[in-house]
């Protein structure tokens, strides 16, 4: 349902239609590789039939119970895997890359429910599965299938968990959990987002309980010295929004 601001509906509707034609499928080229930024928060590399997801933070809920006695609903792993399942069913990838911090802590896999473990096994069935090392889960890969790697090269792309300012063009990373905020006429919308300057891409966190860091935070400055475009995950599609339109928290 459209419920825009009074007085501007027509202009917005017209622009919206124009936009829909232009950005139906938000595509991006990075180091010569064509990327699709999916609404689920993953990246689809059609040429490599590879789906990349970042920062799953599985078992974050149970990590809180262990550490601080806060009993958050223990369904976050299930929820994250359900979203992943949806994307896998849609793309049917030959390879899935989990771009680090797949588990919230190194002991996460031990705490996982048998049902969730089985779900991961089912997702891995018939495809290559790569766990990239993260800062939360450097030693993970025991008993959760797949293979383990520090970084992965795919055509002209380099996939690693933590983005590095020195990396050459074509880096895809996660780690920062980028979120973009748009404030307009008394309303604010804050969403997870992809961030890119055409040379590198930082992916949003995929995990149900993963928080977010505002893209206007100084942590993003060294990575994107010449500015960036954020691709915010809306309710119905992905929106490309310039740095100037994004506000701080």
């Amino acid at each position: 349902m459209t419920r825009p601001f009074p007085g501007c509906e027509d202009a917005i509707l017209a622009l919206g239609q124009k936009l829909e034609r232009t950005i139906k499928t938000p595509g991006l080229t990075l180091a010569g590789e064509a990327l699709t930024l999916d609404l689920c928060g993953g990246v689809w590399l059609a040429a490599h039939r590879t789906l990349i997801v970042s920062d799953l933070h599985l078992e974050k809920g149970s990590a809180f119970a262990v550490r601080s006695g806060q009993f958050l609903p223990p369904y976050d792993t299930r929820e994250t895997l359900a979203c992943l399942h949806e994307a896998v069913a849609r793309f049917d990838p030959a390879c899935v890359v989990a771009l680090g911090d797949s588990f919230h802590d190194a002991r996460g896999p031990e705490r996982m429910e048998p049902g969730d473990r089985a779900m991961i096994a089912a997702l891995q069935e018939g495809r290559d599965w790569v766990w990239i090392a993260g800062n939360h889960d450097q030693a993970v890969s025991e008993g959760v299938g797949g293979r383990y790697a520090e970084t992965l090269r795919l055509g002209g792309l380099t996939l690693r968990h933590e983005p590095s300012p020195e990396a050459p063009d074509g880096e895809i990373a996660g780690h920062l959990h980028p979120c973009g905020k748009v404030a307009m006429r008394g309303r604010a919308v804050r969403r997870r987002c992809f961030v890119t300057d055409g040379r590198r891409l930082v992916m949003p966190a995929f995990g149900a309980y993963a928080g977010g860091l505002n893209v206007r935070n100084p942590a993003f400055d060294p990575l994107f010295p010449a500015g960036f475009t954020a691709h915010l995950l809306g309710d119905g599609r992905v929106f490309a929004i310039g740095k100037a339109m994004l506000t701080r928290d």
Partner: protein, 880 residues
Amino acid sequence: MPEGSLPARFEAWFASRGWAPRPHQVELLRIVGDGRSALLVAPTGAGKTLAGFLPSLVALSERAPSRRARGLHTLYISPLKALAVDIARNLEAPIAEMGLPIRVETRTGDTPSHKRTRQIERPPDILLTTPEQLALLIAHREASDLFANLSCVVLDELHALVTSKRGDLLSLGLARLHRLSPGLTAIGLSATVREPDDLRRYLVPQGSRPTEERGSPLLEGEGQGEVRGLSGEVTHLTPTLSFQERERRGVHDAVAPEPTPMADLVVVKGGAAPDLHMLETGLTLPLAGHTASQAMPAIYDLIQAHRTVLVFVNTRLQAEYTFQELWRINEASLPIALHHGSLDASQRRRVEAAMAAGQLRAIVCTATLDLGIDWGDVDLVVNIGAPKGASRIMQRIGRANHRMDEPSKAYLVPGNRFEILECQAALDAVEAAAQDTPDARLGAPDVLAQHVLGMACADAFDPLRLYDEIVSAAPYATLSWEDFEAVVDYVATGGYALRAYERFAKILRGPDGLWRVRDARIAQQYRMNVGTIVESAKVKVRLARGVRGKPGAILPKGGRVLGEIEEDFADTLTPGDTFLFAGEVLRFEGLSEDEALATRAGPGTDPAIPSYAGAKFPLSTFLAARVRALIADPFEWDRLPKQVADYLLLQRQRSILPGPEGLLVETFPRSGRHYLTAFPFEGRLAHQTLGMLLTRRMERARLRPLGFAANDYGIAVWMTRDVSEAIAREPGFLAELFAEDMLGDDLEAWLDESSMMKRTFRQCAVIAGLIERRHPGQKKTGRQVTMSTDLVYDVLRKHQPDHLLLRAARQDAATGLLDVARLGMMLRRIQGRITHKALDRVSPLSVSVMLEIGREKVYGEGADEILAEAEAQLLEEALG
């Protein structure tokens, strides 16, 4: 008054003051002397507080001297910590003057820890405190010793306490006190309420039946309610006892057994009738807006003609605006101050002190001064805007003149023509002494969860005994055993179907069947998170200094803190936005480490950002019905100012008048759009919920709704398709559109996504201890809590939609932010009573709600529209 009912020492003290004990004070003394509980309903100035303490003072004065500590005798609970401190001061006079051997102390959040420890070891005779402190005291390991000899508990401003979750918490504390000290008498002090019986039940244990401590037979004398009037005649009610046993242990009747035990009732009839008027300026009022700008000169004249005036408004924005306007015309430079909840606490204290010292001529204030201490010599109350409720307005009027035999003087100032109707309805209600205080609450599950953990901290508990104790608290009288078990399960391991946290359980059941708290850390966690008031996350507003010669540049630090704004509001500000705060127009410069930096805007700058959250009360059902009746009956119109009567007459000529019970729906085209307006008069909250649901349904009917706006009286929806034509084509269309079943799936679907629901959930999660409360100096900011509860909410509702906390949030939504219950009542009321009028242009009545369009932001949940607009700008850059 019976002679000799007071000890000689007290008689002499009264006489030395030139006073005589009032009949209700003596009456309360007699009832409590008989070991019964009582509710005292009296207007301000009736000596209510002294009446509440007199039984304790007399009993303590007659006690034989003893060298050993005797434990707490009387506990006094007030909703305001400042009130507790003030009462302690007031008690000192009679105690000192009569030379009574009585020690009185207060215990609040400000009490130093060594004093708290000493209060447990060597308790005073009388302790004055707040509901939160009571919760902490009964969760103390020494609680059973501390309260073993408690003889009396006095609950002040009970009418204000029982309407919230604080009242739920207090009821559970009271139930524990009744158990720790079986002979305890409870005294409730209250302003006039609609249903005093609700409060009478609140004071005494419900569903009484033999328990181990009390033994059989049942509680002699309890429930022998008496009703007394000031004149002295006493009406005895038939002794009523709840004999209805639950059929077997653990199963509770869904409906409270009738009749139920009640405390005695003592009513002091109101003193002099208030001297209450609507302020007539002779000017034509607008059809919308609440600022009452036209009335400012008249209000200023009133301030000049009185000693001290309290100017009440409904929102903080209105307070800021009124304060500015009054100073604009303050040629005599009268000391006029501002008081509202967002101002810095030290600034508020300064205003209160100046007022008490009689240095102020007027204070513009919000509900923050509704309750509390008698600051200074107020001789006039002015209420700007709609009164919203008859009882609320009476409470405010009572703030003027605290001598009950003199009339309180007050003016109601309407801001628009509808508010004239509401003011008239309120005047009628006050004259008829009609009350519209809310119904008794159903106890909230999240509060119960907090209490259960607290009880485990106090001592190991037997679940059956604790259940019996909890259902003796009136708000929880209908709690089923299954629901209680669910709460215990929640406290232990989170209450999840997926048993993930058994290993970490907070409370554990031992082989003896008793539940115990796991360790000291959990008990500490409980103490840090006690209470039901969940403040919305706030950020400080700091005045930033500009850099000389560099317009626009600011120094990040240095200025003083002006107060706090809700984070939700701060989130919507972009640098350069101007807004009203602390009596000034400020320019937002940016956020720095969780502080909003602002500079003073240049003179003559208009605030651009319309509003920020503040108290907004819905129109009470009772006043709404009176307004509807007033509109529907032209014979009543001669009591209204001519401009309103003319306006209603015009509505009758152009369209029709809404009836007293039914719903008027108008449809009309306007500049290429089609509009539907409806007038349920159920308050803005209920209308906003209605708007969300109606637009969903219209979307399905392919009417292409584009937006809606709502005010307290009605709602307007606009769309691209011709709605008049759709209604003409299908006879049942409107009935179906407004059918009650919209509260089913549509409501569920919308609620789940609603940001208000998420906020409600967050409050429940904090109260129930799922999320830890923030504390000053703690690293975890409110921002993080807000974010993570949203994520938690989304996950929980997908995977366990019937979880205790989601049920708690829905129970809150029914009555709170979303007013769903009221919407349901309205939909039932209008079945078969919808009157439709197709018009070729907007009617006078519809103009009022149409004026809200663009003024109030639409509560749209459509984040994508905002994002699309931001995206469009990037595209324009690219194309341009």
